[in-house]
């Protein structure tokens, strides 16, 4: 898995499939409130994109790659973003994860403040879940590959 396979069919399909998968993952994350989807699915899709790039281009490709060490850190950062959203609402006088007390809102639901604030909170915690799931999947694959690659 460290070297690339070097087949022309794989190389060309890689150029089409991987960017499509990554963009579809971002779409599922941003559109999760309206259509089926959400943080977990978006994270798994993004991870599948990176894993495909690793399988086809080898572990040392420079285009779509996350190194093992930064994957562990970013998984923790994702969980921290989730908890931070809860702490911000607590510091402003609400309960834990009470999105009505967030300091700002992205977008407006027809001038109503309450649903806009809640949608913003959901967007932030989904970002945390997406990061955590994506990096955890890459993490486990990285460790298993490290174990199974016998020189």
């Amino acid at each position: 898995m460290k070297k690339k396979y070097g087949s022309s069919v794989l190389d060309i399909s890689f150029r089409i499939i991987t960017p499509f998968t990554l963009i579809y993952g971002v779409y599922v994350y941003l559109n999760g409130e309206i259509s089926p989807g959400g943080g977990f699915q978006a994270g798994a899709l993004l991870a599948v994109g990176v894993v495909l790039a690793r399988l086809i281009m080898g572990a040392e490709n420079k285009i779509y790659n996350v190194s093992g060490r930064s994957a562990v850190i970013l998984a923790g950062v994702g969980t921290f973003i989730y908890a931070l959203t809860g702490w911000v609402t607590m510091l402003r006088g609400g309960k834990f994860l009470d999105y009505g007390f967030l300091p700002f809102a992205i977008g407006s639901h027809g001038g109503h403040m309450w649903p806009a604030l809640h949608a913003t909170g959901i967007l932030f915690i989904e970002l945390g879940v997406t990061l955590c799931v994506m990096m955890t999947i890459i993490d486990i694959l990285d460790v298993v590959v490290e174990r199974t690659d016998i020189e």
Binding site: M1, P36, G37, G38, F40, Q41, A44, L45, A47, V48, V51, L55, I137, I140, L141, V144, V145, R147, T148, D149, I150
Partner: protein, 80 residues
């Protein structure tokens, strides 16, 4: 009626794939039969009207197949 027939066929296919995953001696083909099991479950979830769960199952089916194939590099392909 049509829905019931399709659902019954899918459930039978589900049982068949599950049994063959246990019985098969070739671990690589057992992995791909497990992948077929996961897509069968996706169709069943869609028929029950829960697209969110079906989406998750589809993505996780792909990820777990990749894990199994990578782990098979270290194991023997044939199970005794």
């Amino acid at each position: 009626m049509q829905n019931l027939i399709i659902e019954a066929a899918l459930l039978l296919f589900l049982i068949g794939t599950t049994v063959s995953v246990i019985v098969l001696k070739d671990l690589l083909s057992a992995t791909f039969v497990y992948c077929a099991f996961s897509y069968c479950a996706v169709l069943l979830y869609l028929m029950m009207g829960s697209p969110d769960v079906a989406f998750t199952e589809a993505v996780i089916g792909v990820v777990s197949t990749i894990y199994f194939v990578v782990a098979l590099k270290k194991l023997d392909r044939w199970c005794k």
